[in-house]
């Protein structure tokens, strides 16, 4: 019996995996043809000097494979992407994948603490709010979730800079390191990074935190109204056992899946947060590449983040199938 279920789960995960590969393919297709359709995306508009001779234009086009039929171009492009070649950045004079790799470190330094903050605080506060259901505390908490969720992160970031960097001078307003970072001791480096990422991570994580708290609270309340909780109470189990053994696991199960769904949110949020706090991450790279019309880089980042979204969805599917025995495995 156990093996059968395990096999079923394996095939479910495999199916989702194959599905994700098709999705990635679909996304690559859409991106490619979008670039052909939209004006000002092609080479000829933006990059070619109008005084170039017809011959030179042909040379450039054949160098980039633009003289071939669109379908052949598409297949070539797909082949390059599968082998991990996202093209060559015009501005940075480096392969796109290297640019993304360098920026990813900075994004993760801010993103991972933000992720931890939003999930740990969100789940904790959500549980507290559900525990106080119907009381004034719950109402206050619930409304503050709504408010926090509605505040745009760029504004929150600016207000935090105004308060904590310019007025109280507690946290630095921008960057990831101080100027004398290389001379610091190991502990000093950690401290320096910590005070630099505090404000950006807080800005990035607050709206997801509120959403997670709200979701956790609603899930808790849903579980609390179930009959099996009544049964557990009727059986005479003590509050602690009911809470930790019956309520919590059932309520937190859907919250786990949010992890996969919220992963891309942190990349999207990084666009704004990195712009405000001048952090050289994926978000800033995106905005810069768009302003500088570095279109291989823009396309590379879009594909990269799309793949992360797909991987995030896959992770949440897998987590759900592992933790929830009731899931329909079709």
């Amino acid at each position: 019996m156990g093996i059968k279920i395990a096999l079923k789960k394996m095939s479910f995960i495999l199916k989702r995996f194959v599905n994700s590969i098709f999705l990635s393919f679909g996304i690559a297709t859409v991106v490619f043809f979008l670039l052909r359709i939209l004006p000002s995306a092609s080479f000829s508009d933006v990059y070619l000097n109008p005084r170039l001779s017809e011959e030179a234009i042909q040379k450039i086009k054949s160098a980039y494979g633009l003289d071939k039929p669109v379908l052949i171009q598409f297949l070539n492009w797909l082949k390059e992407i599968i082998t991990g070649n996202f093209g060559f950045s015009f501005i940075y004079r480096k392969p796109v994948i290297n640019c993304i790799g360098e920026a990813l470190t900075s994004t993760l330094i801010v993103g991972i603490p933000a992720l931890i903050y939003s999930f740990s605080v969100g789940i904790f506060v959500g549980i507290q709010s559900a525990k106080a259901q119907g009381k004034l505390l719950d109402r206050i908490m619930y409304s503050s979730f709504l408010v926090l969720y509605s505040i745009p992160s760029f504004w929150l970031g600016i207000i935090l800079i105004l308060l904590f960097s310019y007025t109280f001078r507690v946290f630095p307003p921008s960057g990831l390191h101080s100027f004398n970072f290389s001379e610091m001791s190991f502990v000093g480096k950690i401290y320096d990074t910590a005070i630099h990422i505090f404000l950006p991570a807080f800005t990035l994580g607050t709206a997801p935190m509120a959403a997670i708290a709200r979701f956790t609270r609603n899930m808790m309340l849903r579980v609390l109204s179930q009959t099996y909780i009544k049964t557990a109470k009727a059986k005479g189990l003590d509050q602690k056992t009911i809470f930790y053994k019956h309520i919590l696991p059932n309520a937190l199960l859907p919250v786990i899946t949010l992890f996969g769904l919220y992963l891309p949110l942190f990349f999207a949020g990084s666009i704004v947060v990195e712009e405000i706090f001048s952090i050289p991450g994926i978000g800033k790279l995106t905005v810069d590449s768009i302003f500088q019309r570095d279109y291989p880089l823009t396309v590379g980042i879009t594909l990269f983040v799309s793949f992360i979204v797909i991987i995030g969805n896959l992770i949440s599917d897998i987590l759900y199938s592992i933790f929830d025995p009731r899931i329909r495995l079709k």
Binding site: S150, I151, I158, T286
Partner: protein
């Protein structure tokens, strides 16, 4: 019933605001009255406009009438004028202060909100229309059409929205309110399509559909007249949520410099301009931000009420 009244009230106040935003602004939101004297005044500042008998106006920060003369002070100058030349004095009150170009922040905030709201509401309705069409077609025909449409929905959902918006806007070249509305609606219909399709599939199995089928009504008529009105109900609730999301996205776009361009104010580009002089003019980002938050909060709140009823 009471809750419906609340939603109705909000809808009416939004309409009133949209139609009268241009009229109720006390000052010109785009052109400054006096760039030199009125620049960067903090909130609750006063200034005075002295009208003289030859028709000219002087904007002063303070004045005093003494001994047949009116002594005035400007930012860099001071002077006096004979009292008989003075025709009238108008007090200018800047409740939210002024920006670095001497424009009234209150007027700009009121005027700029119009664009955010119009874009949010119109594109969410457009997204609703697209979503309902896709969802009901998929739910009605099922089979291969359903599969293709739902795969397309999945692909659109897998795109990180903000990145795709940025790419589209970058490669579209010029952006107007119209193109912004199109782009934002094209990126927000997927949730509604899924909802409507699921409802369609569920309702098709219901008994009242069976009943009208047994009367012998044509299938298309059943789908449009009997299933569709019921299927769009849960999707209707998500309109305010989508509006909130689009208003946030639009403000982010304006903030990054991809949305509506200055001098036309929007909440997003006002905050973006304010960020450049945060230390000297701290009050500039505060009011647009509060208004974005309030608007988004209102929308979230409406959908909260809607999902309860």
């Amino acid at each position: 019933m009471k809750k419906r009244k609340k939603i109705f009230l909000i809808a009416i106040s939004i309409t009133l605001y949209l139609s009268f935003a241009d009229v109720i602004v006390p000052f010109d939101p785009i052109i400054s009255l006096d760039r030199e004297n009125l620049s960067a005044l903090p909130p609750f500042s006063k200034a005075y406009e002295l009208r003289l008998d030859d028709g000219s106006k002087i904007i002063v920060l303070d004045y005093r009438i003494y001994d047949g003369f009116i002594y005035y002070e400007q930012k860099f100058l001071s002077g006096k004028i004979k009292l008989e030349r003075l025709k009238s004095i108008r007090t200018l009150f800047f409740i939210f202060g002024t920006d670095n170009l001497g424009r009234d922040v209150f007027s700009r905030t009121i005027y700029g909100g119009k664009f955010s709201l119009i874009i949010g509401i119109l594109s969410s309705f457009l997204a609703f229309l697209i979503g309902v069409s896709v969802g009901s077609v998929a739910g009605y025909f099922r089979g291969i059409i359903d599969k293709i449409l739902m795969r397309a929905t999945d692909v659109f959902l897998a795109f990180p929205k903000l990145f795709l918006v940025l790419v589209l806007i970058a490669f579209m070249g010029t952006q107007t309110i119209f193109s912004l509305i199109i782009i934002l609606s094209l990126l927000n219909w997927m949730g509604i399509a899924r909802l409507v399709r699921a409802e369609f599939l569920r309702l098709k199995e219901m008994e009242f559909v069976l009943a009208v089928e047994s009367i012998g009504l044509p299938r298309l008529r059943i789908a449009i007249k009997h299933i569709l009105p019921n299927a769009i109900l849960p999707a209707l609730i998500s309109i305010p949520l989508i509006t909130a999301d689009i208003i946030l996205t639009e403000s982010i776009l304006s903030f990054l410099g991809f949305g509506i361009q200055p001098p036309t104010p929007t909440w997003g580009n006002m905050i973006s301009e304010a960020e450049k002089s945060l230390i000297s003019t701290w009050w500039l980002p505060i009011f647009p931000g509060i208004l974005i938050s309030t608007t988004v909060l209102m929308m979230n709140w409406i959908s909260d009420i809607g999902s309860e009823t």
